[in-house]
Structure formats: C-alpha cells, structure tokens
C-alpha cells in the first residue's frame, strides 16, 4: 500500500473494524471501568509494573516525561474555582484503549502496531523501529517510548531484580514503543487452556493484572462477543455500542452513566467508563 493510496482511502482504512468487514468471531476483549468504585489507589498501576516488566525510570527521567506506566491514574479537580475541592477529586485509570480504528496503527511506517483478530491493538517490539508516529497520533497518550536502554545501561533492574522479570513478557530496550497489551500473555495462556478442552475462554477465567489487583473491583474485563460475560452485560445495559462514534442514548436524557473518552474522534475505544456518582444532597 503506497502512501498515496493510504491517503486516498484514509477513511476506509480507519473504519475497517467497526464497520464489520472484519468481524470479531470468537473474541473481542474489552473493559468497563467503574469510576464510582475507583478510589485512585494506584494498585492497578503497580500490579502492571510487576506483571509486564515495566522499567522504573527514576526521578530525572520522570521529569522529562519518560515514565513508562502503561496504567496510570489521572487526577482531576473541579473547575468551578471554589476555595476547596469539597466534592473530592476525580480519578481516572488510563491505559491503551485498544481502539477498533486505532489512530496509532495507520501511521506506523513498518506495521509494528496492528489489529488482532481478538480486537486488540498489538505492538510488536521486534518490528518497531521507534519512529514514535504512533505516540504522536494517540489521542489518549498511552504509548511509552524507550528513550534509554533500561535493562543494560540504566540499572532499572539490578541483577537481583532481574530475577523478578516475567518470562512471558519481552524486556524492551532502547528505541522501542510500548503500551498496555490487556495482559496479552495471560490471554494467550487462557486461550491455550480453553482450546485444549475444545471450547472458548469463559468469563472470569482470565483477568488482567490491574483487574485482579483492584481492591474495589472497579475494572471488569472480558469478551464482548460472549453474551454471558460481565463486560458484555455492562456495555449492553449502559447502551454503549462499540461501533458507534456517538451513542444513541446521549441524544435524549438517560439515567445511564456509561461513556467512552473522546468518542467523537472516531477511534472506537474498547474501554467503557462509568461516570463517578456524587450525592447531591450533602
């Protein structure tokens, strides 16, 4: 596909998955995050470091925006200029939204980031050449670039700590982009087990690291294709459609709280958030 071809057919390339020409048959991994349950405690983020061999970059590199937290908690305040934030803060766990029409995919010059049949936005480290176009094009800013050779030169893992590295996940070095994978190594293992028994992965059989740690069960994760999965039921109940860039329910008043972030950018994220609720009477 030449660049001119790409540009001419831009809208088509971008819309490939949601319009259904490559439907998800067996799996479509998706999430629902309940912001009313999320307390902002950061357990998910640390669990992600532990599971996915994420480098600790240290103070100086953090200052340069080089932190690698695939799962980060964003904290927002109200903007009404009151003296005190007396309705608390707003916490938002933010990680790769595994967009169906992912803006990062179309700009990768080497095809290192692709859509998988399971509806994941894959990042293939050995193919990545570090152009960082994907990161520039990501509206959620959830792609992290290895500016340094952490395993070898930056002492992110002294010898003792190397022993903690998860052998199911590649250790990335300098010049590679990385991001949340929905713990693809766990998905692969679960699919493998299910396949041995000639069936599909059942709801609850596989958990992402963040979901497993979350003390308030704010994160649910599962197969959107599976009508029995909790995540499917949540999306359905909240009337959020994966392949829409504006939800019909938003046209009229509803008492539902499901939404996707920056939906109007037509990236079709696979993560639905549930709005935080605050008691109005106190």
């Amino acid at each position: 596909m030449s660049v001119s071809n790409l540009l001419e057919n831009w809208s088509k390339v971008r819309h490939t998955h949601p319009v259904g020409d490559v439907p998800h048959e067996e799996y479509k991994w998706a999430m629902a995050i309940d912001l009313d349950a999320c307390t902002g405690c950061n357990a998910c983020s640390v669990a992600c470091y532990a599971e996915n061999n994420i480098a600790v970059v240290g103070k100086e590199k953090y200052a340069h925006g080089q932190a690698m937290h695939w799962m980060r908690i964003e904290r927002y305040w109200d903007e009404d200029e009151r003296e005190f934030p007396d309705q608390g803060a707003q916490f938002l766990p933010m990680m790769c939204q595994q967009c169906e029409a992912a803006p990062c995919e179309t700009v990768c010059p080497v095809g290192a980031t692709n859509h998988t049949a399971d509806g994941l936005n894959s990042q293939v480290y050995n193919r990545c050449v570090g152009s960082r176009y994907c990161s520039a094009n990501c509206p959620f800013k959830v792609r992290y670039f290895n500016w340094w050779d952490y395993p070898d030169q930056e002492n992110a893992w002294p010898d003792e700590m190397k022993q903690q590295l998860n052998p199911d996940v590649t250790v990335r070095t300098k010049g590679v982009m990385e991001k949340c994978t929905f713990c693809v190594q766990r998905l692969t293992a679960a699919k493998n087990m299910a396949r041995n028994e000639g069936r599909l992965v059942k709801d609850g059989e596989v958990q992402t690291a963040c979901q497993q740690a979350c003390p308030t069960n704010a994160i649910s994760f599962g197969n959107l294709v599976d009508a029995e999965s909790r995540v499917h039921k949540q999306w359905k109940q909240q009337q959020v459609e994966l392949a829409e860039d504006a939800q019909a329910k938003d046209e009229y008043f509803t008492d539902l709280r499901g939404y996707r972030i920056l939906e109007d950018l037509r990236a079709y994220p696979s993560v639905m958030y549930l709005e935080r609720v605050r008691e109005s009477a106190i």
């Binding site: 669990a47 600790v56 008492d255 709280r257 958030y273 109005s280």
Partner: protein, 732 residues
C-alpha cells in the same frame, strides 16, 4: 517523490531483521541461537513443577500489618508476582500497590547478606555467641526489646526468649498506628478493634480515617467501600462524608469533603449531636446535658464548618441509619486526641450504630498468638529508660526508631547509652547503622511465620507465611530460626529437639489442630492443607461489645495560637510510604502520590490562599520549621488542605537503607514536637506548629499531573454525575 515510489513492503523487508536487532540487543537473543543458553533442567523434579508453567503458593503479605493473604506465582524457582488469596476474609483475592511491591523487598539489591559486628562481617556462630556471652553477664532487667507490632509464633518465641532472660522490658512500637483510637475504642466498646461494617452503613462520616489509603486494613475497607457504593444493594448507594484538615485518598473519594480546623473534631462531633437532638433525635439526658453548649453557631466558629453544613450533616445522619462514624489519624493526633475519639464514639452511640455497623470482633482462642499492636508511647517509654542508662542491651526487630523518632526525643543519643545493641534487619537502615550487632533477616518470601491480624473483619484467622522460593542469599536467616537458636542457648532442654523453626512451627501448629478446626485429620494432612491454603480459619465465638461511650469529662480546650509558628503541621501517612519502611521499593517511589501526583520526593502541601499570602508558588523550595527541627522541601499548592495547615508526607528522607531510599526527600518525623495525648501518652502527631519560609530556590515539581493542573479543558474525560441523575438499581 516518496509518495509515488515508496513501497511499504520493501521498506518492511529491509527493516525486518534490523528492527529486531535494534529492539532487543543486550537483553536477550534477537535471532535463532544454537548452544548458547543453558536449558532449565532439574536433578529430581517436583511433581507439580513443569518448566514453562507457573506454580502458585499461598502465603501472607508482610508489607504492612493488615495481614492480607497472598498467592505467589513461582516459575523455574523464582517468585515473580504476588496476587491476593481469595480464601482470606481480609483481602478476598485483592491487593494494594504496597503489597504488589513485596517482591521488591525480596529482590532488593540492598539487602543485608551477612551478620555484621561493629561494621565488620562476622560468622553466624560468632554472632550468636556474642549475644550468649553478653546476656550471661546481665540481669534480665538490663535487657530491653523494641519490636514492631507482632503476632503468631514469632511473637511466642520472642516472649519465651524474654522470659528466659528474665526481661520484662518489651516495647511494642509502631510509629504510625491508630493507638489513641484503639484506647478510645476499649473505653467505649470494651474492645480495641471492633468490626466496622461499611458495607451495612447507609452513610459513613469519617473524621480523618483514611481507610482507603493507609488506615488499619485498606484492602479490606476498599472492598467494603465498593459494597457500600453499590446502588443496587438493599440499603442503596452509601454516602461518604470525610471531615479532615488535609484531604486524604478517602477524602478525595467522599461525596462531601469538609476541611476542618485542625484538632476540632470532637467539638464538631458534639455539635452534630446537638443538632441531631434539635432535629428530634432522642438523646440520653446525660448526653444532651453534655452537648448543650455546642450550638451550631459556636461549633461553626471553632471548627470553621458552616452552620448550614452542620445542619446538613445532622440531617444526613438522622435519615441514613444505620450509619458509621469513624475516628482516624487526623482526629487522634492531638493533646486531646482521646477526647476527640471519645466524642466520636459518643456520636456513634447516639446514632444507635453500636451493634449495627460497629460489631464485636471474633475472639482469638490463643491469646499468646493474638496480635499485639504497636503504639508510639512505647518509644517514649523506652527512650526514658535508655536516657537514664538503665538499658544495657537492646534488641530491635521490625522497627527503625532512629529514623522514626522525632529529633526532640534525642533517641539516637540515648540509644548509644546502651552498651550492646542487636538489630534484626533486612537492610542497613538508620537503626542498623547504630547497632553493635546486625542480624540479616530472610525476606518475607523466604521465611516461615504465622500471623494473626489485629483487625479481624470476620472470624479469627491464622495466616501462614511460607517461603515461595529458595533463599537468595545464603547468609540471611529467618527471625524464627534466630530466636530458636537464641532460646537453645538458654533452654536447651525445651528447644533442643527442634532442628529449625520450621520443625518448631509445624509441631506448634499441629499440636493444636483440634482447636484450629482440624481435629478429625491426621497431622500430615492437616499441615499439608494448612500450607496449601495459606491460612486457617479459627473456629470460635464472637466477642462481646458494650456500648458505654460516655459524655462525662469531655472537654475541649480552646485552640491556642502561636504567633511565632502560625501553621499546623499535618504529617501525612500515604499509602505508598506509610512510616518509611518500604521507601526502598522503587515501584512505590515511582508510583505517583494519588493526590499531588508527585514522585520520588517529599513535598509541602499549602493551600493556594496561604501560599499567595506568603508569596509562595509551586516548586519553591521552602523551609518548614518547628520548635524541634526543620526540613526543606518543594512547595505544592494544594486546594485540599485547610489554610491554617501545611502537610508533609512521612516516609521520605532516609539517610540510609539503600539506593532507592537514601536521600530521597526529607524526613518529617524528625521535626515533630514531643507533645503527647494527655490520656494515653501517645505522641500527638498533629500537634506540631510550624512556620514556613522561602529559601529562594525554585525547581520544577516532578509529578504526573500535566501543566493543565488537573483540568479537563471542557472535554468529557473523567466524568461525574449527581446521584439524582442516575439510576443505579438496574446496573449489572
């Protein structure tokens, strides 16, 4: 030009292998390699360990005292990842970030590897021999023990060793602990740690109890909180009000966060009772008499909480029953901390919460293994004894008092009056540096132990801590093994028959298997099941709870201002750093503080209004000075703090403890004034008055928050709905 001729496939072809080489050079093989790596192979296999497949072992988290049960994933003999153990009634399969970082305590590159005597490595036999020689020359009263909170069989061995030496000087110390509230609970309910049922409460009013962050048993309370917030539970979605001068993580999650003038918690609690009585709630006569002076106008003036807000609080508590009122760190940290806690207990009594959302905890059938929670008064008591020169020999375990003691106590100076100091330590921390003899410990993932948590959410539970893998360093030993060796020196008859602590522990547990619910099983089966589960749920009766919170003697002195030190210091206990014992775990240093989003440093939280008055902007290095000491740290303008207070997180500013902790931030413990709660003698953490001044330096604050400072720029990113705009009942 490029547009016409550039062919993406060709581009890929060229880059295929090159990309690979760039990707992974140095951290692994990037191409097929024959005969370079050695294959994992075993001499004798264990049936369940297959290369390439993780094995899971149950154990107990030792990162804090909550006693969560964990499941460690082990592959090819290495512990890789910790998950929660679903069988535990404490954490039900969940974990916090602190717990996750437990593997970094284990693999920490700065762990001690061999015993040290006066700074020189020494063999274990020699080290234990030195202790033997020394204790022989001393009377029991000359020897003292300073330990952290403890329970289980390690506690039993400590006690037995103290008995063997004839020492009664056991100081159980935790720098951060709810010790005043514990005493107040004992008075009001007859128990120190009653069960708190957030899940049954329709409203929770918390006076500075950060139960989602770092208070008592955060993972357990977080789960209860999730239940409490469910719109589809019979009680409906619960309402949380947090009242505290500095916003904690729990405050950030409240429906209403109320900034209270520091220390006026008790006044507000009585004011709420007053308002409730006015609203028609029947209040016992003695209580009514005690609160008659606490009219909303006066309370409002003292606490800074508006009359309208007090009315709303009373209305909420009247309609939302049962409710639950909590007293936390922010309420107890004053000279009149006990009074604050007593007033809050009284509010619970008036609301009829006792027995509904405050329940009796389970009895632990064996008091000798029950938890002994640490407090701050223990350090003050030991300090006095050290100062008078009455302690010749001191054992320290599970505490770092040289770091956590306020400078005003002169603890370090007094410590050195003891002639022989033995410190059990994982790292060369500030206290180990002062020791004559340092005994290096196995990590929690290598060692055997049992634990009974102090806060028991359901029935009593005996947690087993077992090794997940082989020891990393040959020169470390388990606490239990060291104590057993020391006991063998004194009571060879009694302990000689045990080869090691494992043998002791197995014997001790299986010998009471009947009482542990394993009466019908043979010893081997019972033991194997215990290890497999990682815990034993103890059968037994629930305890008793009394409701005797009294209005008698409640008196709150007027707040006296100090013109030279106009601000109140609130040393904050954060979920990441707590009392600083985990500061050398890099995941925790790099995990942003949830509220300020700052990493790898201390900060001083100042309300923007106060900062404007003082001409301070974000990033100014300010000096916070009390009568007892001062620190320098970056200023962070934080709207969630009372304008009369500044807050500095605890746990930073280590002078030792390895590469990840040393020199990161400033130690707020050091500058605390030695003021105590009048009833319990506990160090009053929030009583320190400070002044704040600019040093002239300014830096860029390193934090996760972007330049927008937590604003969403009109986009729907983190969205919020009012509760009357949403129907939660149909949610799945």
């Amino acid at each position: 030009m490029i547009e016409n001729n550039f062919n993406r496939r060709d581009f890929l072809k060229v880059l295929g292998w090159g990309g690979a080489a760039v990707t992974l050079s140095g951290c692994g093989f990037t191409s097929v390699q024959d005969g370079t790596e050695t294959v994992v192979s075993y001499v004798e296999p264990t049936e369940y360990a297959l290369p390439g497949i993780g094995v899971y072992f149950n154990s107990t988290c030792a990162q804090c005292d909550a006693g969560c049960s964990i499941t460690g994933r082990v592959r090819e003999g290495r512990a890789l990842k910790l998950e929660g153990n679903a069988a535990s009634s404490i954490n039900r399969g969940k974990m916090c970030g602190l717990g996750q970082a437990g593997v970094q305590a284990h693999y920490n590159p700065d762990r001690l590897r061999e015993p040290m005597f006066k700074g020189q490595p020494v063999a274990w036999d020699k080290a234990l021999g030195l202790i033997d020689e020394k204790v022989k020359t001393l009377k029991g009263d000359d020897v003292a023990f300073l330990t952290g909170g403890m329970s289980g069989h390690v506690k039993v061995l400590f006690k037995n060793y103290m008995d063997a030496l004839g020492s009664k000087n056991h100081y159980v110390y935790e720098a951060v602990s709810p010790s005043v509230v514990r005493a107040a609970n004992k008075k009001a309910y007859g128990v120190e740690a009653p069960r708190l049922r957030l899940d049954k409460a329709k409203a929770v009013v918390s006076f500075g109890a950060d139960f989602l962050g770092a208070w008592v048993s955060p993972v357990h309370f977080s789960q209860q909180y999730a239940q409490f917030r469910k719109g589809n539970r019979p009680e409906g979605r619960g309402v949380l009000v947090q009242i505290e001068p500095k916003m904690t993580l729990t405050g950030a999650n409240a429906d209403r966060w109320i900034p209270l003038r520091p220390g006026t918690d008790g006044v507000l609690a009585l004011g709420i009772i007053h308002a409730l009585a006015k609203n028609g709630l029947s209040v016992p006569a003695d209580v009514a008499a005690a609160v008659k002076d606490y009219a909303p106008e006066r309370v409002s003036q003292e606490t800074g909480v508006s009359v309208e807000q007090i009315g709303k609080l009373a209305a909420l508590l009247k309609t939302h029953t049962p409710s639950l009122v909590l007293a936390g760190d922010a309420a107890e940290g004053y000279q009149h901390g006990s009074q604050n806690a007593a007033a809050i207990a009284l509010l619970n009594r008036v609301l009829g919460n006792v027995g509904k959302t405050i329940e009796a905890p389970a009895n632990v059938p064996f008091p000798q293994i029950a938890a002994q929670g640490g407090n701050r008064a223990a350090l003050q008591a030991l300090n006095g004894k050290l100062a008078s020169g009455k302690v010749q020999m001191l054992f320290v375990h599970g505490a770092n008092p040289v770091y956590t003691a306020p400078l005003s106590l002169k603890f370090k100076e007094n410590l050195n009056k003891a002639t022989f100091k033995v410190v059990f330590a994982h790292y060369m921390d500030e206290t180990a540096l002062q020791a004559d003899l340092v005994l290096p410990l196995d990590s929690a993932l290598e060692d055997w132990a049992t634990a009974v948590p102090e806060y028991l959410p359901e029935g009593a539970q005996l947690n087993v801590q077992q090794p997940l893998m082989e020891k990393l360093h040959a020169g470390t030993r388990g606490t239990g093994d060291i104590l057993l060796a020391l006991l063998k020196q004194r009571r060879a008859n009694e302990y000689g028959k045990f080869d090691d602590f494992y043998a002791y522990l197995r014997n001790a547990v299986v010998s009471i298997k009947g009482a542990l619910g394993g009466g019908g099983k043979d010893e081997d089966t019972f033991w194997a099941e215990t290890l497999s589960e990682g815990l034993v749920k103890l059968p037994g009766s629930g305890g008793n709870l009394s409701s005797k919170a009294s209005a008698a003697g409640l008196h709150f002195p007027a707040v006296v201002e100090d013109a030279a030190y106009p601000l109140r210091l609130i040393p904050s206990v954060t979920a990441n750093m707590r009392d600083g014992r985990n500061a050398n775990q890099p995941w925790l240093q790099e995990s942003p503080d949830p509220l300020t989003t700052i990493v790898w440093d201390s900060w001083v939280e100042i309300h923007p209004k106060t900062a404007a008055k003082l001409g301070i902007v974000e990033g100014d290095i300010v000096e916070v000075a009390s009568k007892s000491g001062s620190i320098k740290a970056q200023a962070y303008l934080f709207p969630g703090i009372h304008p009369d207070a500044v807050s500095v997180p605890l746990g930073y500013g280590h002078e030792a403890m390895g590469r990840y902790a040393k020199g990161v931030g400033a130690n707020a413990f050091a500058m605390l004034d030695a003021v105590s709660d009048q009833e319990t003698g506990e160090l009053a953490m929030n009583e320190t008055r400070v002044k704040i001044g600019k040093t002239g330096q300014r830096i860029i604050v390193i934090k996760e928050e972007g330049v927008a400072g937590g604003k969403q720029a009109g986009k729907k990113i983190a969205a919020r709905l009012a509760s009357d705009k949403v129907d939660l009942s149909k949610e799945v």
